[in-house]
């Protein structure tokens, strides 16, 4: 009987562990999966937007926390937006970020990605996973992921490329937009930016 319980415990423990990957292991797994797909898919290498978007949708986006990202980009202006506005903002910002991310992915050319050991204590709920993209002739470019533990597993809330946060880089712009036209002004600017990118994309199918 005791053995049975022990077995049960181990079984339970291993299933939990399997579900809950460590943040760095999770980044590594997803990165490798995405790169493998890009390497095999000639359409994506040629810049097929639709296929890239599908890949990002399926593999990458579930691991991003766009609410937190939008709040981070808004900074002290975030509470100025009401719940409805926050929702719209998150949606528009998500569209913009996803687009940038997809474009970045489409420029991938066989660079080697190196994963750095995670520096975090056992109980940390907020960690930075560090990776490096290596290419000959230039210094390696770091890509760091700010990740937090949520009930739904580890989620990315910041992506920092070569020291530049793709999220907080918007803060001054958002500040200025809100200073000039309020939260609604910012929503309008984001929406029109997304629309113009949309029409650009359909104008020259790439």
């Amino acid at each position: 009987m005791k053995l049975f319980f022990t077995l049960c415990f181990f079984l339970f423990a291993t299933t939990v562990l399997a579900q809950e990957l460590a943040p760095d292991a999770q980044v590594k797994k997803i990165t490798n999966e995405v790169i493998d797909i890009i390497k095999q898919d000639k359409d994506i290498q040629a810049g097929n937007r639709k296929k890239i978007d599908e890949l990002v949708d399926a593999k990458v986006l579930p691991h991003f926390n766009f609410g937190r990202m939008t709040a981070l980009a808004m900074g002290r202006n975030w509470p100025k937006a009401n719940v409805e506005q926050q929702k719209v903002l998150t949606n528009e910002f998500r569209t913009l970020l996803v687009r940038t991310y997809s474009t970045a992915l489409s420029t991938y050319k066989n660079q080697v990605i190196e994963f750095k050991p995670l520096r975090a204590a056992a109980g940390d709920a907020d960690v930075t996973v560090k990776t490096q993209v290596k290419q000959p002739g230039t210094e390696p470019v770091s890509i760091d992921y700010g990740m937090e533990k949520t009930p739904a597993g580890w989620k990315v809330y910041d992506v920092v490329v070569g020291g530049v946060s793709l999220v907080t880089n918007y803060r001054e712009t958002f500040n200025a937009e809100i200073r000039d036209g309020g939260v609604d002004g910012l929503i309008k600017s984001l929406a029109s930016k997304n629309r113009s990118l949309e029409t650009q994309a359909s104008a020259k199918p790439k």
Binding site: G67, R68, A71, L72, M74, G75, R76, W78, P79, Q86, L96, R99, T100, T103, A104, T107, R119, A125, D126, K134, P136, G137, T138, E139, P140, S142, E148, T150, P151, Y157, G162, G163, V164, S165, L166, T168, N169, Y170, R171, E172, T173, N175, A176, E177, S189, L190, K193, L197
Partner: protein, 336 residues
């Protein structure tokens, strides 16, 4: 021709700094007192880029096979390693500096005049250093953000370093035959631009306000480079105080989560009230206010141990670097 160009650039920078530095801060973005001039110059640079530089770079990228372009990039990158090494040593990172000289030796010989970056494959990574970063490492503040004519985003500190010193550490300027030298400088510029085509497209796509996006990316990038990817908490008051707040509100918005912790990597070295008052210009003039001290090792962060920013023997190192520089001048390709 190039001396003329450099004088023109230097003069424009000086005019920009003297003329506009005085009547700065008329509203606008805090931390960008020269915004009016900067936006105008940014627009001018964009125009020149669109009309001349970008088309040439795109053509170059289309015409040249990839391996040839990599060779060109490697060739110029190799020449840059000497100055990078000197700056690493000036910053007290002797190991990195030695590695840079090792790279130069290896790539120049085994890598056939630098066309192949064999050193990277051998584990000697390329670094990114310049004199502006060295000054930053010594505690000199960046000063206001400045967009230089043609050369693009910079700061008072980095712009002066670039125009006064960095070109002296650039072996291309020691090529005696002026037309050849100009051609080399031109090819390098085109090659650099070609390498940035994807990135510039990305920035254009991502930005709501292209000027602000490039500016803020540049400032973040420089801050990160000075500390080799491990920057101190940002000195910008708005950003530091906000990031804490926004993290909390974000956490609240998702209610089940505890408020996110804000742990700076260097424990006590959080931004003090005094730091928050500093504008970039004040930061620049009051450079000495920034302590030279290393990050407190007491913070107990493993692997974050840092050398002091100024090596104790830096005067000797300066002298050595001067000799290296003179040596470089002597062995230059100048016809005798």
């Amino acid at each position: 021709m190039n001396i003329m160009l450099r004088r023109f650039l230097g003069l424009s920078l000086l005019t920009a700094l003297v003329g506009l530095g005085g009547c700065a801060t008329t509203g606008g973005t805090p931390g960008d007192p020269l915004e009016g001039y900067n936006r105008a110059m940014f627009g001018f640079n964009e125009g020149v880029d669109k009309a001349i530089i970008k088309p040439v770079a795109s053509g170059y990228k289309t015409v040249m096979p990839e391996f040839a372009r990599t060779g060109v990039t490697n060739f110029f990158a190799n020449l840059g390693d000497l100055w990078i090494g000197i700056n690493n040593i000036l910053q007290g990172k002797v190991g990195a500096g030695v590695s840079d000289f090792g790279r130069f030796a290896m790539n120049t010989t085994v890598g056939i005049l630098g066309l192949f970056d064999v050193a990277s494959n051998a584990g000697l990574e390329k670094h990114n250093e310049d004199f502006g970063q060295t000054l930053g490492r010594w505690g000199v503040g960046s000063g206001a953000y400045v967009v230089l004519p043609i050369l693009g985003p910079s700061s008072v500190r980095d712009g002066i370093s670039l125009l006064a010193l960095d070109w002296r550490g650039d072996p291309l300027w020691y090529v005696g035959n002026i037309p050849t030298r100009n051609e080399l400088v031109g090819v390098r510029a085109v090659d650099n631009r070609a390498n940035l085509l994807d990135l510039s497209r990305l920035a254009e796509e991502a930005a709501l306000d292209h000027y602000a996006y490039v500016r803020d990316a540049f400032l973040q990038r420089r801050r990160s480079l000075i500390y080799d990817g491990d920057p101190l908490p940002e000195p910008d008051p708005a950003k530091t105080s906000e990031s804490g707040e926004s993290k909390d509100t974000a956490a609240l918005a998702e209610s089940e989560l505890p408020p996110a912790q804000i742990i700076t990597q260097w424990g006590e070295r959080v931004i003090t009230a005094a730091d928050e008052e500093l504008t970039p210009a004040q930061e620049f003039s009051g450079a000495a206010a920034q302590p030279v001290a290393a990050r407190p090792e007491a913070a107990g962060v493993s692997g974050a141990a840092y050398e002091p920013r100024i090596p104790s023997n830096y005067e000797a190192l300066l002298a050595v670097s001067g000799e290296v520089h003179d040596g470089l001048a002597r062995i230059s390709l100048r016809p005798r």
